[in-house]
Symmetry: C2
Subunit: 424 residues, 2 copies
Amino acid sequence: MSTVSPGRPDLRRLGPAEWPHPADFAAPPTRAERARWEEADRAARPRRLARLRERMAAEGVDGYLGLRWEHMRYLTGLPFDESEVTGSGDSGKFLVTASDVFVLADSRYTIAVARHAPDARVFEIQRQMHEHWADLVADAGVTRVAVEAMSIPHLTWERLAAAAPNVELRPIEGWVEALRQVKDASELERVAAASAVADRALASLLPSIRPGVTERELALDLEWRMRTGGAERLAFDVACLAGPEAALPHGSPGDRPVLAGAVLLFDFGAQVEGYRSDMTRTLFVGEPSERDLGVYETVAGAQDVVFAALDAAVSAARDGGGPLPTGPAFDAIARSFIDADGRWPSYGHGLGHGIGLAVHELPGLGSRSPNEPLPTPTVFSVEPGIYLEDETGVRIEDLVVLDVERGRADRVTLFPRDVVIVGT
Amino acid sequence: MSTVSPGRPDLRRLGPAEWPHPADFAAPPTRAERARWEEADRAARPRRLARLRERMAAEGVDGYLGLRWEHMRYLTGLPFDESEVTGSGDSGKFLVTASDVFVLADSRYTIAVARHAPDARVFEIQRQMHEHWADLVADAGVTRVAVEAMSIPHLTWERLAAAAPNVELRPIEGWVEALRQVKDASELERVAAASAVADRALASLLPSIRPGVTERELALDLEWRMRTGGAERLAFDVACLAGPEAALPHGSPGDRPVLAGAVLLFDFGAQVEGYRSDMTRTLFVGEPSERDLGVYETVAGAQDVVFAALDAAVSAARDGGGPLPTGPAFDAIARSFIDADGRWPSYGHGLGHGIGLAVHELPGLGSRSPNEPLPTPTVFSVEPGIYLEDETGVRIEDLVVLDVERGRADRVTLFPRDVVIVGT
């Protein structure tokens, strides 16, 4: 954690001689580590299902219909992700009962389900889910089924309701998300391993950054370094934005060249054994302008006050045993810091988000996130930014693991946050 | 089109000396071509919107709520795709009225919408769509809104209904899909350009295929060749499956090595200016076994009878002016051919699918696809397969453009479909 005084970040200037080196960061995970994580998941699934079943019992339902790939992987082991879901139809959807887990699979997926979800029962489908619904609920012996109402299409809901009118559908939200935000050690290790893959990749990319190289070329180069350096896939598409483009918080790399005397923003992450990382670094191509440096120091200062507040909160919670502050409270701390500086507009997005199997999950650290104490142990991003339209943009994003029992709020992203000068 | 007798495919044996060469296929599109396609889209959007508005008027609604990224790009120009949608909240959703198109955007996206969808009106949102719904329908002056009922979450539907109880929500399906399946020339050119990128990439990969190289390494290598060879992104994740793994129609590449004396299946595609390609080739690593060759010839024969039937159907439709056969009819032709051979089980997936902005779209050529005449002009895959669990699998997939007016059914995938021997 940073130890500087809030508001006065002690940033070093790192030219080529002081650049971080790939070997500064953890090596890609070994096959043995990956096997251990897979085993940890297998061992954890009965506990996860037990917690879901406690919730089901407390809410008076005897079934839970799972529709999202993150939940499926978490509860069954089937390693679908967003890229598979598009063409999978209803395969991979699953029904949890008090005693069983049924995974729906058409003929393309029965082998994969049996292989990856050995504890689940394959429920073979030939058509859409609603055409099998009456059989499924009868086989499973359920009469009141909780359904993720933000994930099920309206038409599917209507069709399930019509297919088995005696089975109550209970609209619910966030049951499994709430479980998933509390991470076990093997999950946190994987987020850290994915972060190290990303740290290493950026460190190895630095010598390739020159004015004139395009955003798209650098994004592809960085992606390649992650995917040949331990990532099974990207956490999300790499953003590489030069100069004024960095003012778009969700811009995409284009054929625009890197500009001398301007910023260069990278927002990127890796995936390791299902778990993802997310980091942003804003580099300086040649000598920073006074404005860009002022913006950068303010963003780093906003991060510092959040880190200090997280440290204090974790210590207090461990010592006093009270709850942690809420996500919105930390968002407000960063925002107030930028507002108090007075020179720049504040960011329009949230301060941060949980991360794990999905890039964006609970807990939320935005002004509109749930007004609930942060969970523990958990991991989330801290990513304040300042965007000057058509001029420049700076965002710095680190992942932080919060663990009250250990009294720690540790940064997982280890690539230095200093003023890194490239392209000279 | 193939001219061989149905059932007796005239397959050549292509060793290294006869391999296709990357230069056999069209070069990546130039900047000028890309600019021309972008301009063609801009010019086409008013026509596309006019056709949607005709449908709206005919169905008695004054609004259409668009929720899918493919429809958004098609109708507004905003180039979101599945990777952006995950984190975009309700940004990019859009409302078409008789006179306007409103695109919802939170602060992260207003600049992007203004840049890419210049003819649309930005409707700025700070919260979820339903919290702005009453204002939006009032601004737009609509009272009966068609909503894609398979795309809207059930909870969102309920919230919109509650937020503006006087506005009728009409559940609909497939209006824009129906428009999108008929392709204009610039769309077909892009599918062909994306196919050529994929053809070239596989041709350039052939010398790298050796027993012992893993599926994952080859998949990444092939991806890299596409993305540095004209593809702005992949159409979908590359499948590379060795030997018995090829029996999984939706398998993913693993750390399994390429096996001598077995098949090696690649299913992959590129994206060029928004449009996608999709092709499958099953190669032979060293000398094919008699069984594998028998399977391969049967699959190629199934493709041939479909190609012949498509040729005949297009000629008949042009000459007689009657409708084309249905998608299920062509699926049945391929399936009957494999059944008649009698030696192998038939495939469990559909024969083919339309392709364009999405990898899978209308028309469908499966046994359960809509029982309607194929549209024209259009483009779809023809991809029969035979899968012997734990033994081997063969699929051959080509894209075909169907154009009754020109009396043509042309294969777009130009990589040879012969018996290609690699790894020797």
